[in-house]
Symmetry: C2
């Protein structure tokens, strides 16, 4: 384990190759976590490693994951097994003149930790708030909060953001001398996630407008739509 | 293991909850695999489950994954450990009037398998071709193929697409009676990955135009750009 609060680097999470792509400082790690919607959580279920997608939230140095109490992922992870949570943001294709030098531009964070279930209803509600606010800031205040029965249906896990690594690749392809005689186009094709026009629920009450929190979301994720 | 070639359903990969979201037929599974750029592969490394992002290809009923021979993921998986490969396509946010009923629309595939390394140089080259062609069809023919030395630096794994499941959520939020008095906007916010204008490598040869395979890619992924 690391002794400093400013890095999530440990011996086993230090990149062994392409070290120039690695980062371990909280600012970089948090900025990648905060830009993602979905993580993949790995755990071992009866000897079989599994990795399943889920949304998540962050509260300072904690990652928060929720799911149905009946679901395999939360049931297994809550029993104290080790987990790995990975967030990957794909930023583009990297097209080289040789097959070998093709790559993708991306930002990713890998966190290894032991998951702990949150049982206290107040803590659990706060964690669910962090998860919804991570996806859509401002939403929680305007929607119906969970009932006691709903809270019981849901499991929430927390994991410390204490051990792991971030990895970033950006920029043009690497070109090796052998490639120079191949006159094929090389460069980057940027990729990004965008939102398009919201589709109102057919059962929505008449006269209910798009709320400011959604407007704010769209100004970031769908600049062309607004 | 299942006995039919048309389904990847087995007892342990059958969804235990929300079964209406599950699919096991090859057509659905392949269409999701073919729409993704990045998968997450889980494996166990010295007792710690890890899930790492990587690109992949598909050749019929085989998934193909490559990476540096020196990398942790390929080195560990090649030694015969069980792996899980998951592809997740995020299609939108689902905004309900209650916190509990928020969700995301998505398509995902989870494959569990034992990875086998490909050593034969001809087979390996073909596998690398499938991986590059998965990302950008038509690219392989125009770029420099791998040298013998480059082939040796790269490990390629194949996994049978034989056991797993697909999961799809689409459509508006579920509304429960308690939600009706909350007059907040509800509905879907579609999300999708798009490409933007390619950035030519500064070292690109003069007069090298965007090739037709990239034009074709952009007509699908960047309709507004073309």
């Amino acid at each position: 384990m690391n002794s400093s609060g400013d890095t999530i680097r440990t011996e086993r999470t230090s990149l062994r190759r392409k070290q120039e792509r690695g980062a371990y400082d909280r600012k970089t790690v948090n900025s990648i976590l905060d830009d993602g919607f979905v993580c993949h959580m790995a755990f071992v279920d009866h000897g079989q490693p599994l990795t399943l997608p889920t949304i998540y939230g962050r509260d300072g140095d904690r990652l928060l994951i929720h799911g149905s109490r009946a679901g395999r992922m939360l049931r297994t992870a809550a029993s104290g097994l080790r987990v790995c949570v990975t967030v990957t943001l794909l930023d583009g294709l990297v097209l080289a003149r040789s097959a070998r030098m093709h790559s993708v531009n991306y930002r990713s964070v890998v966190i290894v930790a032991t998951a702990v279930e949150i049982f206290d209803p107040v803590e659990k509600t706060l964690a669910l708030r962090h998860i919804l606010e991570h996806v859509l800031p401002g939403r929680w205040e305007e929607v119906r909060p969970p009932t006691t029965a709903e809270l019981k249906e849901t499991s929430v896990l927390q994991l410390p953001i204490k051990e792991g690594s971030a990895k970033i690749r950006k920029g043009p392809p690497i070109q090796v001398p052998l490639d120079s005689e191949y006159r094929v186009w090389s460069g980057e094709v940027p990729l990004k996630m965008i939102a398009s026009d919201p589709i109102a629920d057919a059962r929505a009450a008449d006269g209910v407008l798009i709320p400011s929190h959604l407007d704010h979301f769209l100004s970031r994720w769908a600049p062309a739509v607004r």
